[in-house]
Amino acid sequence: MTLTSAPDLATPPVRRPFRQGMARLRRDPVSLGALIIILAMVLAAVFAPWAAPYDPNATDISVALEASSWAHLLGTDVYGRDQLSRIIYAARIDLLIPAAATAIALIIGCAIGAVAGYRGGWLDHIVMRCVEAVMAFPALVLAMGLAAALGSGLGNLVIVIAVTQVPTYLRLIRGEMLRVRDMEYAEAARTVGNGDGRIIFVHLLPNCIPPIIVQATLSLGYGLLTMATLSFLGLGVRPPDSEWGEMTAEGASQIVTGEWWLFVFPGLAIIFTVLAFNLVGDALRDLLDPRMRGVK
């Protein structure tokens, strides 16, 4: 009879989620491709001075409005600026602003959603009615209105995008909180003497992380799309700052005269990046959320 030592209790082997994820990725070339696109975009943005073949703002009238060539892979614009270099430099804003907005939305949404979900009652009612009020507006209309009210500037743009995303996080976390707050480990945390704050943020919130990661990935894509749309409409990034949406707006005026590349290439950059974020988000959902597994 073994009581104080229990060598007989077989210990299951340690699972390695990262390795599992990589193995799964290898069988899923589409998600792998999407991940590579995102990594390439990030690297290009970070190392823009090295990655870009020209200075993005160097004008050279002699090569203005040239189509794709070996010298200028994606052609040049009215001022003879190299389009590829401009797209690479613009990636900095295109990735950074949605990222900042997502981070802010995530922190605010999680904090309020977690407390509302855990406490329930009147607090939950008030918060949820506010969320519903915000969500009653179509996201883009809300973003346009806010952008117009706040005025231009990169900081304001971050705020606008964040505001459109907060309700999503809030509802997501509130739902997750409702699920985990009645788990036995929540009760166990209470019986050993944890206060509500510690229970919410140390014990319960970490158990809601997988859907947050998925949502964050997806909302990077949505954030980029919102920003590009606003910029296209002239409500977001304005020259001299450049951004893909703003570049398509500039390029759009050249379509009639046949210089299609100025519109198409920044547009493709938006499409591929947003698509890549969505695909990676879906793949993460499959990986992290067992409930969604096998649902396609």
Binding site: L3, P12, A188, A189, V192, G193, N194, G195
Partner: protein
């Protein structure tokens, strides 16, 4: 010597909500579910009191009221003379180090995102008496106590087997040297071979550390093995309380007789005499007046409609039945 834990007239009602409440108002029925009513019992230091009954009888609600996971509607819970039912949040958090709980499902009761070390050390950190070195020592001490290897402290729950997880739960419960531990069906989710080990571990810890247990279970054989005294609950009330051996030899309440006779005996030659009750447990919203067993009891008499208090019938034996 006064008992370590003294529960008197503990009651808990869960108010109905939403559509159910509207329906109840419309029909003129009760607005709350009386889960526990007027439950009183004592547990002496170093003793195990078994609490048995079928699902919905309120035994888990009693456990949660004593550990203040939920707040009782009325009644007192004296632990070492201190009424923990009346403590405010902050005072209760301090008192928790003296009364701990082990849950039914070893997997659900462990936070999947925390390591064993963090979970077992947490009550010590919250108690705030020990330095971090002392806490580490205490951690290793309780790991030894519950028979877990020290190499397991940095594991996550999913990296352990079911038996190991329940040992972690027990380690967490005893880390702060509590004198009283509530065990809420700690063996129900375990397989036969693990169950016997956990039973022996609990018994070993009680003897060695002088713990007192409130052992809640529907597994009557396990309660018989562990408990010195047993209380039987039916529809929120204690209907009988007796020393373990006495209860099994001479059950006094018809409900106890029915419950004990329904337990399958692992002996094909055992002469079992069923004492069947008719029908099913009534809804807790429609508990009969007088003796709650009235509608189902084969021995029922007109007098059973009268209120039936829990009374002494012999030293250490209590029963709530007019006919016993």
């Amino acid at each position: 010597m006064p008992p370590l834990l003294e529960v008197s007239e503990l009651s808990k009602a869960f108010p109905l909500r939403g559509a159910t409440r509207m329906l109840a108002t419309f029909r003129g029925g009760p607005q709350a579910v009386q889960a526990v009513s007027d439950v009183s019992f004592n547990v002496a230091a170093g003793e195990t009191l078994g609490l048995i009954g079928e699902s919905g009888c309120g035994k888990s609600t009693v456990a949660r009221c004593i550990t203040r996971v939920i707040d009782p509607t009325s009644g007192t819970v004296l632990l070492n003379g201190q009424n923990i039912a009346a403590l405010d949040k902050t005072a209760m958090r301090r008192a928790r180090h003296d009364v701990q709980m082990v849950f039914q499902d070893p997997t659900a009761a462990l936070n999947p995102r925390l390591t064993v070390r963090r979970m077992v050390e947490e009550p010590l950190r919250l108690e705030g008496k020990l330095t971090s070195t002392q806490r580490r020592e205490r951690l290793f001490e309780v790991m030894d106590d519950v028979g877990l290897g020290r190499d397991l402290v940095d594991r996550y729950p999913h990296e352990m087997s079911g038996g190991q997880r329940q040992r972690v739960n027990i380690a967490r419960a005893i880390a702060t040297h509590p004198r009283f531990v509530v065990l809420d069906e700690p063996t129900s989710a375990l397989d036969v071979s693990l169950r016997s080990r956990i039973i022996l571990l609990l018994e070993h810890l009680r003897k060695r550390l002088g713990l007192a247990y409130l052992f809640i279970s529907h597994d009557i054989a396990t309660v018989k093995y562990l408990a010195q005294r047993i209380a039987v609950m039916y529809l929120g009330r204690i209907v009988e309380e007796a020393p373990g051996a006495e209860l099994f030899a001479r059950p006094a309440h018809p409900y106890t007789r029915a419950l004990l006779s329904a337990v399958p005996v692992p002996d094909p030659d055992a002469a079992t005499e069923r004492f069947p009750l008719s029908g099913e447990i009534p809804s807790p919203l429609a508990i009969p007046t007088g003796c709650a067993l009235r509608g189902r009891c084969p021995l029922a008499q007109p007098i059973c409609a009268e209120p039936v208090p829990l009374r002494d019938i012999a030293p250490g034996r209590k029963v709530a039945c007019h006919l016993a």
